[in-house]
């Protein structure tokens, strides 16, 4: 673990762990969010036959940096009728919920913020922490749009957690551990050992597991789309009816923090599905570092593969956003309770029977 080595060098554990916590924040989350916004705009532009941002920097690459500079300089307006303490606290809570999940994401076999043996459960629990922040933001704004947005958002996140958790429980039944690092480790460096292809099991069991695992992944993916308020489940911030949903009243840096948290959440759910279903940090075809016998290269390759897989899933989320129209509220609830949850139950029973063979 990098954090332990840092602690030995620095001689102080707290500072070492603070640095380990700062690495995913400043080296990953902030640049990722900046370029995810850029990518989202470019993806939408390509899909709608436009050019997208192309003025600031080569190919518009510095566009979001200019945006964030603009947002820092913006006046911070708190409406007179707003509930001020809650209004100010909400961005903190939302961002804490997002960033706490980064603590258990295994970026590589040597880099994981906190190697707890409850990984998956912890991330699912802590990512619903931002529900409180969203409700606080919507309530404190004292605005009809933001309250509607927050209520819808909470109802949606809370409902879709049931199928998402059921899909994960059914995967955990075969995996047998909740530690994300161990889950990644057991899907050894060949892509047919990923859990979506039946995992590192042998014989008929592996063959039978392929379909239920695929179903579990699809259920989890759809539910996670709803949990991060992405289209087709973005009625909480349906622009055409609710202006901007729960953050209608927020300006300047507070607004930017909500955006950062939203893009961070997109990455977190993709990282969970990568770690559970797509082999985590394992390379699909073995490591270059091993074949050239440079052991230092292996962790770097692992980081590359982990980010490559998760960011591809983020890209799929963006692609879906510009492809599908959004659902109505009653359809949204029907998809959750009448389709996803029963399918997840059936899938759970199926996986239970298969792993008995």
């Amino acid at each position: 673990m990098i954090s332990d080595q840092l602690a030995e060098i620095l001689g102080n554990k707290i500072i070492a762990y603070l640095i380990t916590a700062a690495i995913p924040l400043f080296l990953f989350l902030v640049p990722y969010a900046l370029y995810a916004v850029y990518a989202e705009r470019k993806v939408s532009a390509f899909m709608q036959d436009r050019i997208g941002p192309n003025r600031v920097g080569p190919k518009g690459l510095l566009q979001t940096i200019a945006d964030i500079l603009k947002l820092i300089q913006k006046e911070d307006i708190i409406p007179k009728s707003a509930d001020k303490p809650i209004f100010v606290m909400a961005p903190y809570v939302v961002f804490m919920g997002t960033f706490a999940a980064f603590a258990a994401i295994p970026f590589s076999s040597v880099f994981i913020g906190s190697n707890i043996n409850l990984g998956v459960f912890y991330i699912m629990a802590v990512s619903s922490f931002s529900v409180i922040g969203i409700l606080m933001a919507g309530w404190a704004g004292n605005n009809k749009y933001s309250l509607y947005g927050a209520m819808r958002s909470v109802a949606q996140i809370v409902s879709y957690e049931v199928p998402a958790l059921l899909a994960i429980v059914s995967a955990v039944m075969v995996i047998g551990t909740l530690n994300l690092n161990e889950i990644s480790e057991m899907q050894t460096a060949r892509f047919w050992n990923w859990w979506i292809f039946g995992g590192p099991l042998q014989g008929i069991q592996k063959f039978l597991l392929i379909v239920p695992m695929l179903v579990a992944f699809v259920i989890f993916f759809v539910a996670s789309l709803a949990e991060v308020n992405r289209t087709p489940f973005d009625i909480p911030e349906a622009e055409s009816e609710l202006v901007a949903g729960f953050h209608t009243e927020y300006t300047g840096m507070k607004f930017a923090i909500f955006f950062l948290a939203e893009y961070g959440n997109m990455f977190v759910v993709s990282a969970i599905s990568t770690a559970i279903f797509f082999g985590g940090w394992q390379s699909p075809f073995g490591y270059l570092g091993n074949s050239f016998s440079i052991p230092l290269l292996v962790p770097i390759e692992q980081v590359f593969w982990f980010l490559f897989k998760s960011l591809s899933l983020v890209l799929v989320q963006m692609w879906l956003r510009w492809t599908l129209p959004r659902l109505r509220v009653d359809q949204l609830m029907a998809v959750c309770w009448k389709y996803l949850t029963p399918y997840a139950f059936v899938n759970l029973v199926l996986i239970g029977i298969i792993s008995l063979i």
């Binding site: 707290i14 762990y17 603070l18 380990t20 916590a21 700062a22 924040l25 820092i72 300089q73 913006k74 006046e75 911070d76 307006i77 708190i78 409406p79 007179k80 009728s81 961005p91 903190y92 961002f95 804490m96 997002t98 960033f99 706490a100 980064f102 913020g113 906190s114 190697n115 707890i116 459960f121 605005n143 009809k144 309250l147 209520m151 409902s159 957690e161 049931v162 958790l165 059921l166 429980v169 059914s170 955990v172 039944m173 047998g176 551990t177 909740l178 202006v243 840096m253 923090i257 009653d330 609830m333 029907a334 309770w337 949850t341 139950f345 759970l348 239970g352 029977i353 792993s355 008995l356």
Partner: protein, 141 residues
């Protein structure tokens, strides 16, 4: 000695520091010229009418109740799923007895219509009632 959850606490503290830092930088370099219009609640340019802090739709309460039941039950399922393969058929039967009750509860909710999102029902009146109402109001023509 720092436990694994202590490291998580450091993550949380760092998140707070990061957001606070962003707000402080923002506070230093931003302009501050509030006017009456700026401080008004946004309602698409109109003056806001009434308070949004009113009694809210009860449907959200039903959703929250159903969620609470399911979430607690799934939380109880996770430890079972974790050791499922060690117990074989016995574990299967125990777990699925529990699951069976869970599914039974869900079917009950489904049958009761709690999973339906209640929509306002607008029935178009047929021509006869419209004519009758018209006659009652204005007399025969």
């Amino acid at each position: 000695m720092l436990t694994e959850f202590g490291k998580i606490l450091i993550f949380l503290i760092l998140a707070i520091i990061f957001v606070a830092l962003a707000f402080i930088v923002n506070r230093i370099i931003r302009p501050q010229k509030p006017t009456r219009e700026k401080l008004m609640t946004y309602e698409c340019g109109e003056n806001p009418i009434g308070s949004p802090w009113i009694k809210f739709n009860v449907r959200f309460y039903v959703v929250a109740l159903i969620f609470l039941l399911f979430d607690v039950e799934i939380t109880l399922l996770i430890p079972w799923a974790l050791v499922y393969r060690e117990f074989g058929l016995y574990g299967f039967l125990v777990g699925f007895l529990f699951l069976f009750i869970l599914i039974l509860g869900m079917l009950y909710e489904w049958r009761k219509g709690d999973l339906d999102w209640v929509k306002p029902e607008v029935k178009p009146k047929d021509l006869k009632t419209v004519m009758k109402e018209f006659e009652e109001q204005y007399g025969k023509s």
